[in-house]
Amino acid sequence: MGGRSLTTENFDEVYREWEEKTRQLLEKYPEQRERFETLSGIEVKRLYTTRDRKGEEMEKIGLPGEYPYTRGIRPTMYRSRNWTMRQYAGFGSAAETNRRFRYLLEQGQTGLSVAFDLPTQIGYDSDDPMAAGEVGKVGVAIDSLEDMERLLEGIPLDRVSTSMTINAPASILLAMYIAVGEKQGVPAEKLTGTIQNDILKEYIARGTYIFPPQPSMRLITDIFAYCAEKVPRWNTISISGYHIREAGSTAVQEVAFTLADGIAYVQAAVEAGLDVDRFAPRLSFFFNAHNHFFEEVAKFRAARRLWSRIMKERFGAKNPRSLQLRFHTQTGGSTLTAQQPDNNIVRVTLQALAAVLGGTQSLHTNARDEALALPTEASARVALRTQQIIAYESGVTQTVDPMGGSWYVEALTDEIEERALAHIERIDELGGAVAAVEQGYMQREIQRAALETQKGIESGEEVVVGVNRFRLDQEEQPELYRVDPALAREQVERLESLRQRRNGEETDRRLAALKRGAEGTENLMPLILDAVRAYATVGEIANALREVFGEYEPIG
């Protein structure tokens, strides 16, 4: 620019000259694409400058720990304390999973995250015909309190926090956790952890539902009410965009549908007579960290800002903790490739970094072999080490919200917020998230996005390294983890033995009381806790509720 230095006064003029020069250059050296865009289809401009910020900047971005929390929920973030490194694990029997938990704690993991097998997640006992082939496969099989005791043996529940990925039967598993605490001498008010307990995303994206939406919402608000009183440090729900994204949504849809689900839960609880500032501080969120690095960072910032506004303006929440969106992140499972599995370590690193720069409270990093099977112990370790290297070696934790003020990231944060809000308004018009789910709105939108992605990959427009570009002729087959088939048989035997040993009359009495409760309107948590203490199984409790509530029939 003729050696002229750039100042605020001459910016526009100098910028125009730069644009003109660049235009001439482009005739000789065109760019690689006509249009660059994020995975949500937001156009990415060549350059972001101060011109991309439209006034009101300070108010929108704010300071960390202050409304609207764009820059994070705490003023010091990782300078005070790193995020919780919480690797999701569970497979086979309770005893085997207990060994993996202890291994991960020894390796420096700071919280537990339990994966349950599908029969447990859908409320079937291990000997139910529906459970055939699935016992202990994607997580640990839990049939009764006895299994839960085995799962948590030697793990001090007053010092370790536990996240449980359980939804339709969340109240049953939480009751078991409380009962194990009692046996360890840890009172419920000291227990810390999270249950996923997000049924709406099951209808939308993950498929492990049991009951229809209305009774499911009641079970959730019963948990909110019970925990506000008896288990005050427990996160009573983790409103999950992760699975919405895995099912194929864009980042914008992930934010929009997750927050819309959140609105539905808050609304249901308020309608059930709960005070918003009583339960809202215990709501938490769960997001995906996908491939487009900056879009992901911006997504977390936008989600935080949107939620705080929703809580303040829509629900009149006053407690600052009610306004803060706290979230767990998992790196994107669907981005992993079966081809050249080592490449997944690099993908996971970038995604984890985006989560950290986005201000996550807790993180799971996927293992390199997860496109093929459950992780081996060695690959689970590398996944955890990835987090530790980001936390302890990279230096990115030393300042709060380092991406804040980046013209690009702030512009993208605004754009995601705006587009997500448009979806939320559409869902409001449909009558809220429950009605939108019943009408299949989110399901259709996600499927459309998933098809787009697939087309992009098949046409080569979207590059997947090792799959549609840079392939190898000969793939090496990695060592894979195998669940021992004998485990399922042993689990069924343990269950049969329990049924013989327990006081059957007492169990039946508790189940009958639960059924009566379900027919009425009282809070079901104490009744479920009684049934669990009498060693009623997950399947028996879920069946008692099925008899009253019925089962969800997905729309065709």
Binding site: A132, E134, G556
Partner: protein, 135 residues
């Protein structure tokens, strides 16, 4: 063959991840096939009953929970028992290479591992149906 190929895309077991199954169903429709999607949580017996009732040429099974070695062979066994072994069975999902020989021995014609294009899948199905019809 002048009639369209009929395919049942089915999810046996309890796995709820149906992104792949839904994409395949839509892609095969785009390729001119008639596709029925079973929905989630179908037992092998239900899948076979639907396949016979709907008179399909092909069943595409999808499973990501690791239960494929139990569930897929049950489908082919029941087809045989009910005299419907001419129905071609293919599968996909999170399935390690090392399981493929076992599944093929049990009559699963092809396993489409992650990264396979929907075009390749459609092409395989067309070829297999043509061979069966002796065209």
């Amino acid at each position: 063959m002048d009639r369209p190929i009929r395919v049942l895309v089915a999810k046996p077991g309890l796995d709820g991840h149906d992104r792949g199954a839904l994409i395949i169903a839509q892609s095969l429709r785009d390729e001119g096939m008639e596709v029925i999607y079973s929905g989630l949580r179908q037992s092998p017996a239900q899948i076979v009953a639907t396949a016979i009732q709907e008179d399909v040429d092909v069943i595409g099974l999808s499973c990501l929970s690791g239960a494929h070695n139990e569930l897929f062979p049950q489908v082919t066994r029941l087809l045989k028992e009910q005299g419907a072994e001419e129905i071609i069975v293919v599968g996909g999902g999170v399935i390690p290479q090392s399981d493929i020989p076992f599944l093929k021995e049990h009559g699963i014609r092809q396993i489409f591992t992650p990264g396979t294009s929907t075009k390749e899948t459609a092409e395989f199905i067309r070829r297999a149906v043509r061979e069966k019809e002796g065209v």
